[in-house]
């Protein structure tokens, strides 16, 4: 699917856009992923409410550095977009399906 953006004239724009995507998912996107992960783990872990809450929070510390590294290590910016946004959405869905524990 070739659009006008694929032409050589817009190479500079593609580069800027790719960098912007990576930067977004390393920062804001990484935080949102951490939040979704925290929701999913706090509700999903087979522990008491308080224990799951604390465990999920502690694990979330690793999410942002992982997201930042992935955002810049992945070969294509497009991959970063789909994978991080997709994972965030998936975790959010899991959290929503699990619902707040009783």
């Amino acid at each position: 699917m070739r659009s006008v953006f694929q032409t050589k004239r817009f190479a500079w724009l593609r580069k800027r856009a790719a960098f912007a995507v990576r930067l977004f998912f390393a920062s804001v996107g990484g935080y949102l992923l951490a939040v979704a992960a925290v929701f999913a783990f706090a509700r999903g872990l087979p522990l008491s409410r308080a224990e799951a809450m604390t465990t999920a929070s502690l694990l979330s510390i690793l999410v942002m550095p992982a997201a930042a590294i992935w955002a810049f290590a992945a070969a294509r910016a497009r991959t970063v977009l789909w994978s991080v946004a997709g994972l965030t959405g998936l975790l959010a869905l899991v959290a929503w399906l699990l619902g707040q524990p009783a």
Partner: protein
């Protein structure tokens, strides 16, 4: 490792380090000083020579607070111990600049009147995670900086080609190569510490930056979240009717009996109210976990209404991680190791900032010049600011109104002056001059202190006053280090930058 991956991680390392590098240097250096905040507080209150057992000091403190601040919503006290002889008291006060007071009370009289107004080491502690920026922005910024540092550490490990081969490598006189060796050595030798202190630093602010787990599991009933997380902390609303506090000493004795250990912090919620609650936590020096055991009493009767020692694994993990960062558990050897490793981390950041310039030698763009000038004030300015803080503590008049805030102003004025010097003087001269100023500021401090307080090095050694002679010796050691740095900088002639293509990855 593919070249593309290494290059992208190198870029990530550079940017995550550079973006808030100056701030991180300040956070790490003040954090390192905080390792000895009790000792610094003791040095900054030289008129306190008495000492009292912790129970007696708390009783005296509450006696004074009952008459001077009976209407406060809460009194938060830290009992004296072998490292600090005064009682720390924090309480809300509408007349205070920040809405609360953080003062030291004499252990025998319970009154702060005979002690000079100063925040002591508490200033460096608060600056470390609040950066003198109003709540919550300062803490958010510090937390963001910590995340960036974690990213910088991990990406740094990824790009370091020969971690084991170059473990001990420090080659002098090779310009950029030597700076890189120094950056690597300082970063790798204490790497477990660097990773631990950064991750646990994020943990200490987690309740604010990642509150979503509580929202996920409790919705908007955050009070229940708090109660389930910390079942030992009994919280009762004020009744609105007045009540007098029962004698504290029996409560403290009961707490000590239950802990089979020392008391640490004592908080009294709604002291003048019928529903007051006295909570005693055990001393943080007795175990790794922070606030491991608490006992709560009904304030007016002294009856035990809550007692808890955390045993759940996740909560204990959280408490241990928190405790590892605070370092209050540390006996003196570990404490000095924390200090050394903290200095190594500060050195890693500083050499990293210099390295960014070294890798672009010959470049003369706006960014390059800005970084070069900012580096001076950010790095050399920090020790100068801290020394100015200590000088202010000795020189400011005893009766000065809001004296503690004035000392803090001295800190920031000195830092600002150093930053200015970095912009006004030629960069290389600025570094040398500032390090000589730091050396003089450190070297002269013990003499000024002796002249103004009478507590000199010789008397301290003879009297076994480890705090005072320890402080003086540390300051002399820093003076020597700063002077050595200044002399080496002056003697070193940087070769004229050769016009060649930049070979370091961006």
């Amino acid at each position: 490792m593919s070249r593309g991956f290494r290059q992208s991680m190198s870029g990530l390392h550079t940017w995550s380090g550079l973006l808030l590098g100056w701030l991180l240097f300040a956070i790490v250096l003040s954090g390192t000083a905080t390792v000895f905040r009790s000792e610094i507080s003791g040095w900054m209150r030289p008129e306190v020579t008495a000492s009292a057992p912790p129970d007696g000091a708390i009783v005296a403190a509450i006696g004074w607070l009952s008459s001077a601040h009976p209407k406060a919503a809460g009194w938060y006290l830290a009992a004296p111990d072998e490292r600090l002889s005064t009682t720390q008291a924090v309480f809300d006060d509408t007349t205070a600049p920040n809405g609360y007071r953080d003062i030291a009370l004499d252990p025998v009289s319970g009154s702060p009147d005979a002690i000079r107004g100063t925040l002591g080491g508490e200033f460096l502690y608060r600056f470390h995670f609040e950066l003198q920026i109003p709540y919550p922005w300062g803490r958010l910024l510090a937390s963001a900086a910590a995340v960036l540092m974690l990213i910088a550490l991990i990406s740094g490990i990824i790009i370091h080609a020969r971690i084991f081969k170059d473990f001990f490598t420090l080659r002098p006189g090779k310009g950029k190569r030597s700076w890189l060796d120094a950056h690597n050595v300082l970063g790798v030798l204490a790497l477990p510490f660097h990773l631990m202190i950064t991750a646990t630093g994020i943990v200490t602010l987690l309740a604010m930056t990642m509150p979503w787990a509580a929202v996920a599991n409790y919705g908007d009933d955050l009070a229940k979240a708090f109660a389930e997380q910390s079942p030992g902390l009994v919280s009762r609303d004020a009744a609105g009717t007045p009540g007098t506090l029962a004698p504290i000493a029996p409560m403290l004795a009961e707490a000590e009996r239950r802990f089979a250990g020392r008391i640490g912090r004592v908080s009294i919620a709604n002291p003048g109210d019928a529903n007051s609650v006295v909570t005693v936590a055990n001393h943080d020096g007795d175990q790794l976990a922070y606030a491991a055991s608490t006992v709560s009493f009904a304030g007016t009767t002294g009856r035990v209404i809550g007692a808890y020692t955390e045993a759940r694994p996740a909560q204990q993990t959280y408490a241990v991680l928190y405790g590892l960062h605070m370092g209050r558990f540390a006996p003196w050897v570990s404490r000095w190791l924390y200090c050394l490793c903290g200095l190594a981390l500060a050195g890693t950041i500083a050499t990293g900032l210099v390295l960014w310039l070294q890798a672009r030698q010959g470049a003369d763009g706006f960014g390059h010049r800005l970084v070069a000038r900012l580096n001076v004030g950010a790095v050399a300015g920090q020790p100068i600011a801290m020394l100015a803080f200590f000088w202010g503590n000795r020189l400011l008049p005893f009766g000065l109104a809001e004296r503690a805030a004035a000392e803090v102003s001295v800190f920031f004025l000195a830092w600002g002056a150093a930053i200015l010097v970095g912009f006004v003087r030629p960069v290389r001269r600025a570094w040398i001059e500032l390090f000589w100023i730091a050396a003089a500021g450190a070297g002269l401090l013990p003499f000024v202190s002796f002249a103004l307080t009478g507590r000199g090095l010789w008397a301290a050694v003879l009297g076994g006053d480890r705090l005072f002679w320890g402080f003086d010796l540390m300051v002399f050691a820093f003076a020597l280090s700063f002077a050595t740095i200044a002399r080496r900088l002056a003697a070193h002639r940087t070769p004229a930058p050769r016009r060649r293509r930049n070979t370091m990855p961006a």
